[in-house]
Amino acid sequence: MDFGPFLLLALMEGTVMAAVLALTAVGLSLVFGVMRVVNVAHGEFFMLGAVIAWFVTHYMPGPPAVGFAAALVICPLLVGGVAALSDTLILKRLNYDPEATIVATIGLSYIFQQAALTFYGPDARPVEAPFDLRIQLPWFGYSGYKIAVVVAAIVILLAVWLLMTRTRAGLIMRATQLDRTTARAFGINVDRVYAAVFALGAGLAAVAAVLIVPIQQAHYLMGHDPLLLSFIVVIIGGLGSLRGTLLAALVIGLSDGVISVFFSPTLAKILATLLVAMVLVFRPQGLFGVKQ
């Protein structure tokens, strides 16, 4: 393949990666932004989304598209429910102490992993794409499903943005983020907001996983990479800044795609980690974050 088409292919792969990463990282960023909780179990919510997607598509009768559509609805709801329960049963009891919640979410991540290993098993299993469409470009054919993933991610991110900026629920979340004590003085039930935000963050990871699982297989250890990459994105974008998170996901996703295609995936991760180190040293508030 010539350089031009090869670069185009790399960029397209990078865009798919960026789209899924953006969904996952926005979930992590939202939880940190509103609750000041560093959720180490975020990758496991992603994994649970993928594993549950396998169960749903496997047991749902009818054509693959039906099972997949069901997974798109069921997985984020179930994972969000598990997250809300974890919040109420564990994080709330720790008073959202920053250090205690890190330890607690590390513990949660092992529980989820072991639960997946027990009930789902050690195998990586594929989920069939909801449709099989190949888009023929002049230089190469490309998966129509991957393009659908990008479109779906954009739609969901747009919905999150509208939720945060245009709705009453978004206003309540932002007020809680800015000053939870004063929010309470105006009738805002902060416990409920926290449970909802934790569920929303986990649900976004789960949706991202459902979208990716026809491309990558579902596996009980698959949460590691999304967790690492989400942290990279959130640190580069500025903790709690949604706009920064989106831009950073695009930068990391695209560069990861291009470097992986032209050189090696390992080099891509090395460079991304190096970038995080540089950001932490020279601009700890993140490239797009505001100084506290």
Binding site: R168, L171, I172, R174, A175, L178, D179, T181, T182, A183, R184, A185, F186, G187, I188, N189, V190
Partner: protein, 231 residues
Amino acid sequence: MLELKAINAGYGNVQVLRNLSLTAKPGQVTCVMGRNGAGKTTMLRTIMGQVQAQAGSITLNNTPLHGLPAHEVPRHGIGYVPQGRRLFGELTVAQNIEIGLMTRHKTAKTRDYVLSLFPRLRERLAQRSSTLSGGEQQMLAIARALCLEPAVLLLDEPTEGLQPSMITLIRETLLTLKATGVATILVEQRVDAVLSMANQIAFVSNGTVAETLENTNLTPATPQFQTYVGI
């Protein structure tokens, strides 16, 4: 009528309020004075459920408020203007007001009434509240609390750091509200402001109300001001 009876409260093992009692009646302004650290803010935060009362009772028209989760207290009609204003700085004026309205499901009618008290805010609805001047921020903090149509209004040093013209405006607003029957508890350190607004003055010292005076025949030379506030 808001009644605090024999309240003990504090932070962790540190007791701040000791056997504190106070009453706020509809259509009256109860001013609270006392030195730095006497416990004035802690008292208001205890009413709001932000600090748990360990003993005693807080009732609004005989309905107990103590022991309620903090977010349920304002729903009973307690509007709070905290010390330092504590606006949602990144949100606009309109959004801060919206949050006030949501507390007790008030509508545009309440919003219009509140904005009619502070026409300056109406001109700045789309502005980020952190970019307002100090006086405008205080107006917004009061406006946000009035959006509850409160039966009781708690204000913690609302004139702190403001210009005289702004202090006059806030005083006039509070007198207007008093005429509408709101029960006001006003923590205030300026003797002239207190004398022009108060029905009663409660002097807080060492976490308790040491003395209460009716505001009749009081002057700045009244010795209690020297004793409890040190002016």
